[in-house]
Symmetry: C2
Subunit: 181 residues, 2 copies
């Protein structure tokens, strides 16, 4: 079963959510290690519902706005737990910037400097947001047993982004030394 299923089951194991809310959570909290598109999410929600791993609750409960809130079932929860026990299989990383860096001796060093500055800007922002998250979470760390787990994934993001930024600085320095030649 594709991974999208488990992301959905995992998020629904915490609380009932709509497809739209699931997408937002992935975009914000999982941004630096996961992504999903609507074209993937909505059909998968339907499939999970058909299989009985999730059910619909309070369709148009109070609001008239069309929204479908899903809840995980016992079947869904045990499927999720059995997946958690399986060995980690897929680890896919594809960084175009490294591909470009590798071949960038073919163009002016300034070209690559531009790319890396963009990369740097993006990951400075990511790190900034993660640091905020961490602070907020540290303040309420004991309120929920999940919090220390969340902190671990925030820490991962921080470490990775710091590595990205270190590399960017060093690489810009190197490329600037190439310009002078």
């Amino acid at each position: 079963m594709k991974q999208t299923n488990y992301v959905i089951l995992g998020l629904l194991s915490e609380s009932p959510l709509t497809g739209y809310q699931i997408k937002k959570i992935i975009d914000i909290r999982f941004r630096y290690f996961w992504s999903e598109s609507y074209g993937q999410l909505y059909p998968t929600l339907k499939e999970l519902n058909q299989k009985g791993f999730i059910t619909i609750i309070e369709t148009e409960g109070e609001k008239k706005r069309s929204q479908i809130t899903y809840q995980i079932t016992n079947d869904g929860l045990s499927t999720l737990c059995s997946w958690l026990g399986q060995p980690v299989e897929r680890e896919s990383v594809r960084l175009e910037i490294l591909l470009k860096m590798y071949f960038s001796h073919l163009v002016e060093p300034t070209v690559m400097i531009g790319h890396i500055r963009e990369f740097q800007k993006k990951h400075e922002q990511d790190l900034f947001i993660l640091d905020l998250f961490e602070q907020e979470l540290q303040a309420i760390i004991d309120k929920d047993p999940i919090h220390p787990y969340v902190l671990r994934i925030i820490d991962f993001g921080q470490k990775i982004n710091r590595a990205y930024l270190d590399w960017s600085l060093e690489t810009i320095k190197f490329l600037e030394s190439q310009v002078k030649k």
Copy 2:
């Protein structure tokens, strides 16, 4: 045009290669930031050939073993260079281990400790190989103007893998503290 095209063009910009050799280089040198399958590579080589970005040389030049060596054309080279000038677009990272970590409060801490130890082992090996690469390259750094560029991508790999390993150690420590409870 999909990224596979540019990986191929990039590698052929250094020297003529067969599809099989391209695959091996990607598996070894680009392992920690890129991957390609044969099902993707061979058809793409055909397409690039049809478009005139690469040509076939010395098909069965000396050896009788069926092998097709490709060479980049001027068209291919200028296509590659124009891509190098375009802003970096896709940066896809999908780490199942973080997904599992996020939801792992649902299972025994020992389960996740097992997963992380595997992860750790894998990236210790990666780092070991990168350190070897670095040493070899440092010894011949002045022999080719490309070498300092290659060193930059090795450095990236080292930084990322060190971040992975730091995180693994800290996270195993945290999970072990959860076991005792």
